[in-house]
């Protein structure tokens, strides 16, 4: 599974129709350890810029990350 550092993040309160039932939820851009960046959903504890994150799973092609350690 991929891992990396949180480059930026937000907690979304006002969601599009398809995601409304899940709000509030957190999205983040992760700078991957192997290079490049990816936009992900955060599971579990909220993360902040500079935190380390690891991939938990992909759901419908969307990567879900969780705070490492």
């Amino acid at each position: 599974m991929r891992s990396g550092i949180v480059y930026t993040e937000t907690v979304i309160h006002s969601a599009p129709e398809a995601f409304a039932a899940e709000a509030p939820y957190q999205t983040a851009i992760i700078s991957l350890d192997g290079g490049g960046r990816v936009t992900v959903r955060i599971e579990g504890d909220r993360v902040g810029i500079g935190d380390k994150g690891v991939e938990v799973e992909a759901r419908n092609g969307v990567p879900f990350f969780r705070r490492a350690g």
Partner: protein, 386 residues
């Protein structure tokens, strides 16, 4: 390349107009511009329509001739340009190029969007199509959340504060309160702006522009013919359009918009001016953080100083660089396809000294910056008295 002038302007009020459709708004703005320039429809040699999502919002495609024929413009090229929220800035760039190149003399550019016929959640989905649908948007992003992530990183890198963002909203509402055509003519306090309903942290409802209906139009001509039509021509001194990645996660640094920097650099060069010569500006404040970053990328302040500069009142009508005397997208409203041309109309009103209560004393050289998506398109235009 020949010098080009704006010879007529026209716009509808911005707001939520349940009884108006896309075409009637576009026609109203176009007819006002024709009247303003004393031009007859049959004199228009080419027509451009800036529109982002008419097919989704209004269920109608092939929009350019749909609008131009209703204006009585027959037989000439009629072209729609889509570039997200920079659709009509881009339409203006293409109309300008056609006149500058000598292909046609009298060219009309209209921008229009009819948004309020759809519920807000559906509007969000349609707007999201201007992002990367297979990546960031599939993960549940909204445009507010993309700009929220930009704001977070700007705060982290430069110490920008929530108060700085709120000050942009307060200033734009104060200006919009004086604009009879603005969607929301309501001054707000810093306390209110700090405590709005959360949308995507750190942005709240007061950091976000409005969902509006509206249209704006300009008519272009070669500068040498401008005085056939108007006593107050406006010269297009510099203009450029630039592009960048659609997806935010492909950008090396999300606290700056390379498309803004590039478009600005070329527009300044064409106009033969530098940022310190610009007397006032209409800036694409789709979110408060966007105005702060734009004044940095346009070279008005150093990188990272946009927040304090705004908070200290420098961008107020009485400040050293008035920004968004119209009220901006925040208070005037943001019918996305109309915004680019509306900004140019607002610059023209100031330059002609026709801005009423919001008229500023130094108004001979203005800049408009129109942004598409999270920075994938930018058009920068510099206008002055001819």
């Amino acid at each position: 390349m020949r010098p080009v002038a704006i010879i007529g302007i026209g716009k509808t009020p911005f707001g939520a107009f349940p009884d108006r459709d896309l075409r009637s708004l576009a026609v109203e703005a176009g007819e006002k511009a024709l009247h303003n320039a004393q031009v007859r429809p049959e004199q228009i040699e080419s027509f451009y329509l800036g529109n982002f999502a008419g097919p989704s919002f209004a269920g109608q495609n092939h929009l350019a001739p749909y609008v131009s024929t209703a204006l009585g413009i027959q037989g000439v090229p009629s072209t729609r340009i889509e570039a997200a929220c920079a659709s009509s800035g881009s339409a203006f760039f293409h109309g300008w190029a056609e006149v500058a190149a000598g292909i046609n003399d009298i060219v009309m550019v209209v921008g229009v969007e009819k948004m309020t016929s759809q519920p807000t959640a559906r509007v969000s989905e349609i707007l999201a199509e201007a992002g990367d649908c297979a990546g960031e948007m599939k993960a549940g992003s909204t445009f507010a959340s993309l700009f929220a992530m930009i704001a977070r990183r700007h705060m982290y890198d430069y110490g920008t504060k929530k108060e700085h963002l709120a000050a942009v909203a307060v200033k734009n509402h104060a200006n919009g309160a004086l604009n009879p055509d603005a969607h929301m003519r309501k001054p707000i306090t810093l306390e209110q702006a700090m405590k709005g309903k959360p949308i995507a942290d750190p942005l709240n409802i007061y950091d976000c522009s409005l969902i509006s209906d509206g249209a704006a139009a300009v008519i272009l001509a070669p500068l040498e013919r401008a005085h056939e039509f108007t006593q107050k021509p406006i010269r297009v001194l510099g203009i450029s359009q630039a592009s960048d990645y659609v997806a935010l996660d492909q950008k090396a640094d999300i606290t700056t918009f390379p498309a803004v920097r590039r478009a600005a650099e070329k527009a300044y060069q064409m106009a033969g001016v530098s940022p310190e010569d610009i007397e006032f500006a209409e800036i694409h404040d789709c979110f408060t953080i966007a105005e702060i970053i734009a004044i940095e990328d346009l070279g008005f302040v150093k990188k990272g100083e946009g927040g304090p500069f705004s908070f200290e009142g420098n961008t107020a009508r009485t400040g050293k660089l008035p920004v968004n005397t119209s009220g901006g997208l925040k208070s005037k409203g943001h019918p996305v396809g109309a915004t680019g041309v509306a900004q140019l109309c607002d610059l023209a009103l100031q330059i002609r000294c026709e801005a009423g209560e919001r008229q500023i004393p130094r108004h001979s050289l203005g800049l408009a910056q129109n942004l598409g998506g999270s920075g994938a398109t930018c058009v920068v235009s510099i206008l002055g008295a001819a």
